[in-house]
Symmetry: C2
Subunit: 208 residues, 2 copies
DNA sequence: GTCTATAGCGGGATAGAC
DNA sequence: GTCTATCCCGCTATAGAC
């Protein structure tokens, strides 16, 4: 891994190209030559910057997940009123997926592959932090008497996260089905859905 | 496609083995020889029963989707009170995924691959019917004054379906994260989540 | 750091015996 | 219907010139 000189945006070019191809086609369906072509770089160069194809794949995942703001989980703890914290988490999630459109596809693939056994630890640990932050948040809401106590905080957290996750994974198909070009990519439409998720989730949680 | 003689459970064996491998690894990462091994059948036989690998893949999808009860969408129309209809749809969805555990993974992969461009038409049309049935259902609930009218019926339908879909797609990972072996496969645990989804969704929809 | 050439392997698919 | 043998191709990865 060479120093980040100017010349080594070759490395970046490879990473960028690979991210797109891996997200769209998966690891095995993507060839070295394809990556080289997409990056505008000699395919053999890949082996100068990375040990092999698998290492490149790991690097791609790592890089995307690192950009993935840790703030997501932090936000869940920081915001004062519980309902604001939940809203913040959902909108932050939308923000992340908007700025990193490849992430949901890559994650979906990782989840589906190999019983998630090889699902990058980085994904697993992130998901775990996020899920337990949300679970705690909901518990707190219950203790304060704001939320109904019959709901399982853990299941409710899954319900909350599932909505946006699925929205983005099924994105391309949803656009066809709903017959609305861009609903899962245009910031306005996405935030409208995120806002819906917030309201829907809070309505599902709050005392009547 | 030979007559369904006794001898042709060879064909079935191939389909079964292929379904598992495709769901877990995808089309390209699964080799002919692997399928043969898993099916306990000579790999070359694959070409006696199917034109090529792609044709086998289509056959696998077709077969799984056909087992997928059309009743799912019908149920949405048939049940009398709106809330019962929603409950019926969600539990039916759980039932289908339980009896066809490969389906969600296969669907997730189809969605992630190739911008869903080649997402089997059969998936698309099914999803469309289900989604619009649910949307109509929710609209009806609003007209009857049972549901809040600020909610977009279409978005709410997405929220409702997303929960179980995501639950099953992320299943293997969720089991690791929640540290609960089997939550996404054992009928009891699954129906408990389905029941949660029903209550959560109705709470999100109903007037306070 | 970048490029060419190529080794070497494993994949899909077919021919043809049984 | 099943099996063996094999062709051919394209892929990953490397060696080595520049």
């Amino acid at each position: 891994m060479p120093a980040p000189t100017l010349a080594s945006d070759t490395r970046t070019a490879i990473l960028d190209a690979a991210a797109g191809l891996f997200a769209r086609q998966g690891l095995d369906s993507t060839t070295i030559k394809e990556i080289g072509r997409a990056a505008g770089v000699n395919p053999a160069l890949l082996y100068y910057y990375f040990a092999d194809k698998a290492a490149l794949y790991e690097a791609v995942l790592e890089r995307l997940m690192t950009r993935f703001p840790d703030r997501l989980a932090e936000v869940a703890v920081r915001e004062a009123p519980v309902r604001d914290a939940i809203a913040a988490v959902v909108h932050m999630q939308a923000e992340v997926f908007l700025s990193e459109p490849l992430l949901p596809r890559l994650m979906a693939r990782e989840l589906a592959d190999h019983e998630a056994r090889r699902a990058a630890p980085v994904i697993r640990s992130h998901a775990h932090r996020l899920l337990s932050a949300l679970t705690n948040l909901i518990s707190r809401g219950q203790q304060r008497g704001e939320f109904r106590s019959e709901v399982s905080p853990e299941l409710a957290a899954v319900s909350c996260l599932a909505q946006l996750n699925w929205f983005f994974i099924a994105g391309p198909a949803l656009e066809l089905i709903l017959n609305r070009e861009g609903v899962t990519r245009e910031p306005d439409a996405v935030h409208r859905f995120a806002q819906h998720v917030v309201e829907f989730t809070l309505a599902g949680l709050e005392r009547r």
